[in-house]
Symmetry: C2
Subunit: 204 residues, 2 copies
């Protein structure tokens, strides 16, 4: 049994009256010249009241003796009908800070106990198409701690998540390799990899 | 007149029968244990037939004597009702490669003529929520070339895009500063910045 063993039975138009996880919105607005225009977009109706984000993603770095490694996941995603390579992530519960959600979700999804070192600005995933967003929380996992010796995820019923790690130095090459093997690469993973390559190439 | 001078008049539920830029889909699938499940997601109906991507984004780096600078844009986005900080990007026309679309869109939106150095894997913007994706095309802009001395964008009627540049070394700090000033940060920009910071911190 693996994430790859998911199969689409059928796809059909979503009935807006029955939709639980998605809203679509028509906005009428005036442009800088005062002309009236319209724009269509999608939203998550699940953002907690009072929260400015839908979700958190984790840049979880395992401090290994051989060098730092990024914790990644393989998870089947029906919207793209592929197994995706993603950073650990999760929706924020009501009343939680981004950092609390990150540490909780990391433990649930991967079993690792991490320490927060940085929280990113709010990032919008595709702001011409939808309003979904997240903060990336950077978490360091101390591999010498007893709780990180034998991490045990506590997955929910519908979750089939496989964890793996990639040395930071190999991340971009690994993204290309995984794509060739048929995986879909999440934008956060590939863009982190690009940032690392740019820092190297331009000696930043 | 600036990108900030856009104002929302009203928002309302989008009528799926009138939607031009967004489809919503209900997928029925079987999970790895054989259990039947459903998933809701949004799609762009505009992806050209035969194309595997919706759009391209550009990591456009201006080679300045003072150091490399990343070309960015300010653009009002109705889905988030804010001016967003984004990389130059555009939808792919039928029959275009990612590289052709990148060079064309860069010229149209910013006036700069660039040379492609790298094309990323396909990246999915939010694969639990929608199937929208892009490739990032890395473009170097030689500032000593006559065509890049006085770049003139050729914007379409509805486009109000302001270009600016940020030294690569300052990108993450600048994202935080721009967020404090009220801008929304696109995930590509912030994640590139994070990648650069990670490469520095972990000495990759």
């Amino acid at each position: 049994m693996s994430a790859k063993d998911s199969k689409i039975v059928k796809t059909e138009p979503l009935d807006a009256n029955k939709a639980k996880w998605i809203n679509t919105v028509l906005t009428t607005y005036t442009d800088p010249l005062g002309k009236t225009r319209t724009w269509e977009h999608a939203e998550r109706p699940t953002r907690p009241k009072g929260s400015d984000i839908d979700a958190v993603g984790m840049v979880a770095i395992l401090e290994k003796e051989s060098g730092p490694e990024l914790l990644l996941q393989k998870q089947y995603r029906p919207p793209v009908d592929k197994v995706c390579i993603e950073v650990p992530a999760g929706l924020v519960d009501a009343g939680e800070t981004a950092e609390q959600a990150a540490v909780r979700e990391l433990k649930e999804e991967t079993g690792y106990v991490g320490v927060v070192s940085e929280t990113s600005p709010i990032m919008f995933n595709d702001p011409g198409f939808c309003n979904t967003n997240l903060r990336m929380v950077h978490v360091t996992v101390d591999m010498s701690k007893p709780e990180n010796k034998n991490p045990q995820p506590e997955l929910e019923g519908g979750e089939f998540i496989e964890c793996f790690t990639v040395p930071l130095t190999d991340l971009y090459a690994e993204c290309k390799k995984l794509e060739k093997e048929g995986y879909a690469i999440d934008a956060r993973v590939a863009t982190l990899a690009e940032g690392i390559e740019i820092a190297r190439r331009w000696k930043v």
